[in-house]
């Protein structure tokens, strides 16, 4: 039993490590390839999303770090307008999730404005639970679907 568990742990650890490697190499590849000031560059170099907790529209330390990077990027390309999409996981009711998505998108918009981005450059759209980034079910998938996404307008 113990050795079986250990084996699974090792496999999982290896998978996690290998996926980390892939990610970092992706970033370095694309950062040189992506044209500056494009959605692709934002996605690859900065990250276009932040994640939220269950039923929550609050920002945590990690999401604030990501938002600071997104704000810096937006300051670099002052001609770019963006849409902030607010999304929820599938474990909720339709209308309440539309409301929650709107809260999430607006929290991000407010933070970016407070970081010095002109409010006229930002619009928000709530998609509720209608546009998951990952199809499927399970806590990890739901975690990744509770998000805001910056899309170039």
């Amino acid at each position: 039993m113990v050795s079986k568990k250990l084996f699974h742990l090792v496999v999982v650890a290896l998978l996690v490590l290998s996926s980390c490697q892939n990610k970092s190499s992706d970033v370095s590849n694309y950062s040189s390839k992506s044209a500056p000031g494009t959605q692709e560059e934002l996605d690859r170099n900065v990250g276009n999303f932040i994640l939220f907790g269950l039923s929550s529209a609050n920002l945590n330390n990690e999401s604030i770090k990501n938002l600071d990077r997104q704000a810096d990027w937006l300051k670099r390309y002052r001609y770019i307008n963006v849409i902030i999409e607010g999304h929820c996981d599938e474990r909720g009711t339709r209308e309440f999730n539309l409301a929650l998505g709107a809260r999430r998108a607006n929290v991000v918009k407010s933070y970016l404005i407070s970081a010095g981005i002109d409010s006229s450059r930002i619009t928000t759209i709530s998609y509720g639970k209608e546009r998951p980034v990952i199809l499927g079910s399970g806590p990890e998938i739901w975690r990744q679907n509770r998000r805001s996404v910056i899309v170039l307008n």
Binding site: S55, A57, I83, E90, R91, G92, T93, R94, E95, F96, L98, A99, L100, A102, R103, R104, A105, N106, V107, K109, S110, T123, T124, I125, S126, Y127, G128, E130, L135, G136, S137, N153
Partner: protein, 430 residues
């Protein structure tokens, strides 16, 4: 299930002895349906046979009636003569329904009668009413409504429409959503929108002429739109700065809906004649999913103002807000019954899944009537006895529409061409 419901399950009350008519009490949990005999109609055999099939399907879909196979019928009938009741009692028929259909010019002429076999009396007699040849199904539903009303004491709901969101996965994997409309029994299925826009939550106008729904633009805020069912002409409702959503009619001239400002959802009313809009809640987070009481005095809605998702009732003016949900779990999607006696809702119990339940407008008497991996979007039949809802029984099983009696009996799946969600039941077309 509490013991009292188990007991109710075992109690079968078919007859109300105070009156001659044998009725079925639909407020109880029945274990066996009432037996009804419907011989083939006289006159135009092919149309008559079609109508009969529709009536049988209507009646049996309620779970309250079973139509005895016609091969068991011993006697033949004539509309002008009294039936030989003994031969119908012999096959255990409680009610006997018989009609005739004649091809006139523009219209069919339909007559029908219903007899109570036990009291040996005629309880319904409709003589030569005219039916458009274009939609004979409607005539059959009308007859079903009459029978249902006579046998249950409640209004029938067979002449109704259902609108819902149809979700089709395209070849390139995109989910294409359209507003669909169909008769209550799944016939006359049609689409009202193309799949170019994301659409959600269609809801009928009281007169069943138009539908309010949420529509997304290409890159603009989603808005509540109104579409005419006949012309398919649609337009944005009102002129709100932010996203508007969660629409429901108050009456033919006014609407309740949610409007987002600064990320905060509040409930507004909109007069459709004057286009005058009024904010009636002043929440700091989420106030949404408003639904009007049938007397038009109160609104039930969903809010997280107390920290978690709960149900609240207030005056239509927005005053006297009171929380009504207090049991464990999170509540959403409240809908006031057309009878006024109950509010249906979605409840999420962590670790246990989603439920559709009902409670009285003061929050008492909460009863969960069905569960699923995901259930939501309850909508009432116009008689307030049956609920329709969307359900996904397990992850990735696909969403479908179901109906259930508020007793918790008779769950039925409604067949649709593609995945279906966001069902809404219309008023009776009469």
């Amino acid at each position: 299930m509490p013991r009292i419901y188990r007991l109710l399950f075992l109690i079968l009350i078919f007859t109300d002895c105070s009156i001659a008519l044998t009725q079925i009490d639909i407020t109880r949990s029945h274990i066996s349906p009432m037996l009804v005999a419907i011989p083939e109609f006289m006159g135009d055999k092919s149309v008559g046979s079609k109508l009969r099939k529709i009536i049988i399907n209507d009646l049996e879909s309620t779970g309250l009636f079973r139509v005895i196979d016609k091969d068991a019928y011993i006697d033949t009938l004539n509309l002008d003569a009294v039936p030989t009741f003994a031969s119908w009692r012999q096959i255990n028929a409680t009610s006997l329904i018989f009609g005739s259909i004649d091809k006139g010019g523009e219209y069919y002429s339909v007559s029908f009668k219903m007899w109570d076999v036990f009291s040996q009396s005629e309880v319904l007699n409709k003589e030569s009413f005219q039916v458009s040849k274009k939609n004979p199904r409607r005539a059959a539903h009308k007859i079903s409504d009459e029978i249902y009303k006579k046998l249950t004491g409640e209004e029938g709901y067979f002449n109704t429409k259902i609108t819902y969101i149809s979700s089709m996965v395209s070849n390139d994997g995109r989910v294409l959503r359209r507003i669909a409309i169909m008769d209550q029994d799944g016939y006359n299925h049609n689409y009202l929108t193309d799949s170019s826009r994301l659409v959600l939550t269609p809801r009928f106008s009281p007169s069943v002429e138009s539908i309010l729904y949420l529509s997304y633009g290409k890159k603009s805020q989603p808005k509540v739109k109104k579409i005419n069912i006949k012309t398919k002409f649609s337009s944005v409702l009102g002129s709100f700065d932010g996203m508007s959503y969660a629409p429901r009619y108050i009456d033919k001239n006014s609407v309740l809906l949610s409007v987002v400002k600064g990320g905060v959802s509040n409930i507004h009313t909109l007069n459709l004649d004057s286009m005058e809009q009024r904010q009636i809640t002043y929440c700091s987070s989420i106030c949404t999913s408003p639904s009007i009481s049938p007397d038009k005095k109160y609104v039930v809605f969903n809010s997280d103002m107390g920290g978690t998702r709960q149900l609240y009732v207030m005056d239509l003016s927005g005053k006297n807000v009171e929380r009504i949900s207090f049991n464990p779990g999170y509540y959403s999607s409240p809908v006031w019954s057309p009878r006024g006696d109950l509010i249906a809702f979605t409840k999420m119990l962590p670790g246990k899944g989603f439920f559709i339940g009902v409670m009285r407008p003061d929050g008492s008497g909460e009863r969960l009537i069905t569960r699923g991996w995901l259930v939501d979007g309850a909508s009432w039949a116009p008689n307030g006895r049956v609920l329709m809802f969307e359900k996904e029984s397990a992850p990735k099983k696909g969403k479908g529409i179901y109906t259930i009696d508020i007793t918790g009996n008779n769950t039925r799946f409604l067949k649709t061409p593609y995945e279906a969600s966001d069902p809404a039941w219309s008023n009776s077309l009469g």
